[in-house]
């Protein structure tokens, strides 16, 4: 059984429910800059970092394309391969915009992932605490925060 790991405990039950219902193989919940606050199915920190960076990059690129065609940014993207699909969904928590990267196999479908993604977002919004007051972002703080997040995501 693959682990679900969260930086903040409130995110665990919604994520576990989503994984159970959608049969997702890998999930990352992160900020648009790629800072992960919950994951399921990954066993290596380097894979999490790579996937987060690439996912955030894809969303940023397609966001620019949306701007070019004068559309609001796309709410969801799906890439379908021969055996797996990758779904990227945007959503908003009290603290701000977020992204979900979901990898699913032949035992699921983009329809199921989208269906239960809507429930996941509702659950996360309901469970999320109010945002902490903003503080200036220092490069050192960012590095420390990132390292702490990754450490938590791989600790039992």
């Amino acid at each position: 059984m693959k682990p679900t790991r969260v930086v903040e405990p409130w995110a665990a039950p919604p994520l576990e429910r989503f994984v159970a219902e959608s049969a997702a193989r890998l999930v990352l919940l992160m900020s648009p800059s790629g800072q992960v606050f919950a994951q399921h199915g990954f066993t290596r920190a380097v894979d999490v970092m790579s996937a987060a960076a690439l996912g955030a990059g894809i969303v940023a690129s397609t966001g620019e394309m949306a701007r070019m065609v004068e559309e609001p940014s796309f709410a969801a993207l799906n890439h379908q391969g021969a055996h797996h699909g990758i779904f990227l969904g945007s959503f908003t928590l009290p603290r701000g915009p977020m992204l979900a990267l979901v990898v699913y196999g032949p035992d699921s479908s983009v329809g199921l992932v989208q269906l239960f993604f809507e429930e996941l977002v509702r659950d996360l919004v309901q469970s999320a605490p109010a945002p902490a007051p903003a503080r200036p972002a220092l490069a050192a703080d960012f590095e420390n925060d990132l390292n702490e997040s990754l450490a938590t995501l791989f600790r039992t």
């Binding site: 059984m1 380097v46 450490a151």
Partner: protein
Amino acid sequence: MVDDLHALRAELARDPESLVFLRLGEMLRVAGEPDAAARVTLDGLHRHPHLADAHDLYARILADVGDLERAGDEWSTALSLAPRHGGAHKGLGFLAFRQRDFEAALEHLELALASDPSDPTVVQALHTVRQAFEDRMAAPPASASIGAARQAFGGLEGAEDGLLLVDPQGLVMAGRIAVGGVDQGEIVAAYLAGASQEAARTARLIGLGDWTAILAEGPAGHVHIAPPTPAALLLVRRDRSVPPGRLQIVAERAADAARSWLEEAAR
């Protein structure tokens, strides 16, 4: 491969608590370095004693070096932590097969299949075990499954073939579904569990209430699937000559028989 090993070792050295030991241990095992694999895995187990995947990995390392008894212990521990762990069921299925306990092997492999229906190694293992089982039972057809089918469905049309009673975990309780003369009950049972879970979820989420039956019409016949009790599933198969309305009646009679048999068995 060597670069990957270095990278994983470096990652583990940077963060000994990380779960990367699973990947490193597996890579060392596959590279034919069981001692190194065991060291990494045991260290990881010391830090994560309740991680079923780690027990599964250690079991596979032990099986590689021939320590099957301890491998079995580790897979059993994995199951106690995660009862649906596919790897542990696969491992215990392998051990049972080696001991010629084909029924136990089939049980474990069916559960492994239910855990991951897309794993081709499990499907192949099931085929191998079934073949060995059929070879051993070379004198058909009076098998245990027919005996149980007669008990559960005695007197009903198709009592010896075409009726299958299954528990929610996808294990056969009674009945037989023969295809080409070979009983496919275990495979059908594993798929049935998934179908009934999906039926329950679908009915709940789109406002159909509680699901009561599934009817599927195929090119070579029809199947009717229903829960005669909350803890059982019944599949009735008939060829195309039986109209759906008649199939419904047959299914209701079979459900009554199944309920009586289950109540009797529970006493």
